[in-house]
Symmetry: C2
DNA sequence: AAACATATGTAAGATAATCTGACATGAAAA
DNA sequence: TTTTCATGTCAGATTATCTTACATATGTTT
């Protein structure tokens, strides 16, 4: 179940398409990027390229703005969601680990873990792009 | 199960992205369009916009060309596939009809059918874009 | 072999789509 | 009322794509 992560993060859509899909103006989309609510990829020539996850986020942003939340609020909400997702992933991973690793593996892992702490990753709580893809 | 049809036919992708996704050159893609193997939509400004189905087809075309099939051959293959799909759909539809319509409905339908014959529609035998979306 | 057809490469000139940066503005907050 | 926020709008620059035309390698027909 890790492949769909990649797919949902694949930069595929031009800003024009994203405008249609989200019903936001280019100005709005760029403004949200400026406030780091999204971070679309770029082409070699500096054109923005959005992923499905970006579009999900934009739809969420739109909802939240309709409900009167400002940039700062949305940023916090995203942080919380991300943290929640990370926790959930860690929990799942811990559970998986408990079941899958032998004691020997565990010792090896522990050693590694003690040395280099703190790597990171994206998470992914999907919105409702299910309207567009299945 | 009709919504995903729409989604797969939604024009979303610029030619640049399709080039990356299919590993075809712009020249090749335009050539295949010229030979009516695909019919991408256009923006107001005449830029091509490809759907998931278009991309499926391009991947199929690529395979067939690798296997030495020429434009004419591919066109025939697509025709056959489409016909097959239509037949399948008709069969399914007939079955559905048999189960779902009352005799009254059937009489009404029959009348209509006798008047205006011959409307049409797309079909859809999907390729393997499952690599990119789920 | 010569001539032709097919599929693709490549280049030129035109136009569309997008970019950044700046200034304008209405509504809400201070 | 003055600021701040979210968005609109315009200008000038750059990228991406378009069509058309010619070039070319490989395969086919005469």
């Amino acid at each position: 179940m890790g492949g769909s992560e990649i797919r949902r993060n694949m930069p595929l859509f031009s800003i024009g398409i994203v405008m249609q899909l989200t019903d936001l103006t280019a100005r709005q989309i760029r403004y949200y990027e400026e406030h780091e609510l999204i971070s679309p990829a770029r082409t070699e020539g500096n054109k923005r390229l959005f992923s499905l996850n970006d579009i999900d986020k934009l739809l969420e942003i739109k909802d939240l703005i309709d409900q009167g939340v400002n940039m700062a609020g949305i940023k916090q909400i995203f942080n919380v969601k991300q943290q929640t997702a990370i926790s959930a992933a860690e929990k799942k991973q811990a559970e998986k680990t408990r079941r899958e690793l032998s004691d020997a593996d565990l010792r090896k892992l522990l050693r590694k873990e003690l040395q280099q702490a703190g790597r990171f990753n994206r998470s992914g709580n999907h919105g409702d792009m299910s309207k567009f893809f299945h």
